[in-house]
């Protein structure tokens, strides 16, 4: 499991360009920062008020006044800035974040996203996710392809939406997909899987790109 997540994070990292302003969600997306190519330096935005967030704080060296949006103690990089939440979400909604990477419960062929609530289960709240996916220039979903075999990539989401028509790209352990007006296009397939296997694991029709490439680890 751990190496599947590393595979996904490694592939997402390749989508980020030097100088990009990026907001990474909690969990798997946070790991993307560890897999950036050496010549790519991104500027991490944290919605609780940091532009230029650094790595997690070393144990014993934490400044308890500096956390990330997941309430972990972090550091900041040289050139960083702090701001209030209204400014932070102005940056987010205003289209000044180049990419956001988030997990999903469900994504559908229209690019609709459901990742904040399961009716009947414990409510946690949307936090900043609804603003992020609406505002960021590029929305990349990083997730395992299925939920223990249950489809997560669907014709239509069945869970309540986080936002409609916002997802640009989906990266899973099986492949890399782009959401287009025609539907979900498979651009890369991981050599561990066959086309039939990824089609079976997907709850909507996959359009196979004419220049389908292998997904690299």
């Amino acid at each position: 499991m751990a190496d599947l997540k590393a595979r996904i994070a490694t592939r997402v990292a390749k989508e980020l360009k030097d100088g990009d302003v990026v907001n990474l969600g909690i969990g798997l997306p946070t790991k993307v920062a560890n897999y950036l190519p050496g010549d790519v330096h991104i500027i991490l935005q944290s919605e609780n008020g940091i532009m230029g967030m650094g790595p997690a704080a070393e144990e014993g060296k934490e400044d308890v006044d500096i956390i990330n949006a997941g309430a972990q103690y972090v550091t900041i990089n040289i050139g960083a800035m702090y701001f209030d939440s209204a400014t932070s979400f102005g940056i987010i909604r205003g289209g000044h974040v180049d990419a956001t990477v988030l997990g999903a419960l469900q994504v559908d062929k229209h690019g609709n996203l459901a990742n904040w609530i399961v009716p009947g289960k414990m409510v946690s709240g949307m936090g900043g996710a609804m603003d992020l996916v609406v505002g960021a220039k590029k929305v990349i979903i990083s997730m395992l392809h299925t939920q223990k075999g249950a489809h997560k990539i669907l014709d239509e989401c069945t869970l309540p939406y986080t936002a409609i028509k916002v997802v640009d790209m989906i990266v899973t352990e099986m492949g890399v997909m782009e959401v287009t007006d025609e539907g979900i296009v498979l651009k890369e397939l991981h050599p561990d899987f066959t086309l039939d296997e990824i089609k079976e694991a997907t709850g909507c029709r996959l359009i196979i790109s004419p220049d389908l490439k292998p997904m690299e680890d």
Binding site: G49, S85, S88, N112, V123, G125, M126, G127, M130, D131
Partner: protein, 226 residues
């Protein structure tokens, strides 16, 4: 000049059963714990609390959830405090908590809007989701937006890193979050300050919240471990 420095007990004296209170901070980072403690001590009930989140049990707004003083919580995220779900689902009406979830950017902007004298604003966030239920959708420039209304409160409990005796306040690190907007959107604003200094000691370039917004200053705050 009016003395604004007082004890926590004096500062919160006006809070009554049913009061609405904005609480600054994000996962309790930037929340004035000594003001929360005084409020728990006072025991005012049926409060409406407006805060980014529910803190964690034993920290920030979490203490007010545990003490059963909150009737309505308006927040963007409550997932790190399991007690919220428990109290939302309880059958006991005295324990029952109503939780209104608002997207984080919308919550921040609604508070800012009230303080800035705006009647509302149009946001693309939440269009096509359950957040849009009961709200007006306005098409502007070919794009759909939700009309979101301003949000105010009777009181604001804020955490300042350095506050001068007029109330001019700075916020260190990520303690700023909702504090500056809340300072402008409540009838009575209390700053729990980590350090109180003389007027003029803070470089005017670094003041984030003007003392004009601050009614009461309580010393003895500190950066707390979450």
């Amino acid at each position: 000049m009016k003395n604004k420095i007082m004890t926590a007990e004096e500062a919160i004296a006006g809070i009554k059963d049913g009061s609405s209170i904005m609480v600054g901070g994000f996962m309790a980072c930037g929340t004035p714990e000594i003001l929360i403690d005084a409020l728990v001590e006072k025991g005012a009930k049926d409060l409406t609390i407006i805060c980014n989140d529910a803190g964690v049990p034993g920290r920030g707004v979490g203490k007010l959830i545990t003490s059963g003083q909150v009737k309505t919580l308006i927040a963007s995220h409550v997932g790190l405090n399991p007690e919220v779900a428990q109290r939302m689902n309880t059958e006991d009406p005295r324990e029952k908590l109503e939780c209104i979830l608002v997207p984080q950017g919308t919550l921040a902007e609604r508070i800012r809007a009230y303080g800035a004298g705006l009647g509302g604003f149009l946001t693309p966030t939440g269009v096509g989701t359950i957040v849009a239920e009961g709200k007006q959708v306005i098409n502007a420039g070919g794009k759909d937006y939700l009309l979101e209304e301003p949000l105010k409160a009777d009181f604001a409990l804020l955490r300042g890193s350095v506050t001068d005796k007029f109330g001019n306040t700075t916020y260190n690190g990520t303690t700023r979050t909702f504090n500056p907007m809340m300072a402008t959107a409540a009838d009575y604003v209390i700053v729990g300050a980590c350090e109180i200094v003389e007027i003029g000691d803070i470089d005017p370039n670094n003041v984030v919240t003007s003392g004009i917004f601050v009614d009461a200053i309580v010393g003895g705050e500190k950066p707390w471990q979450i």
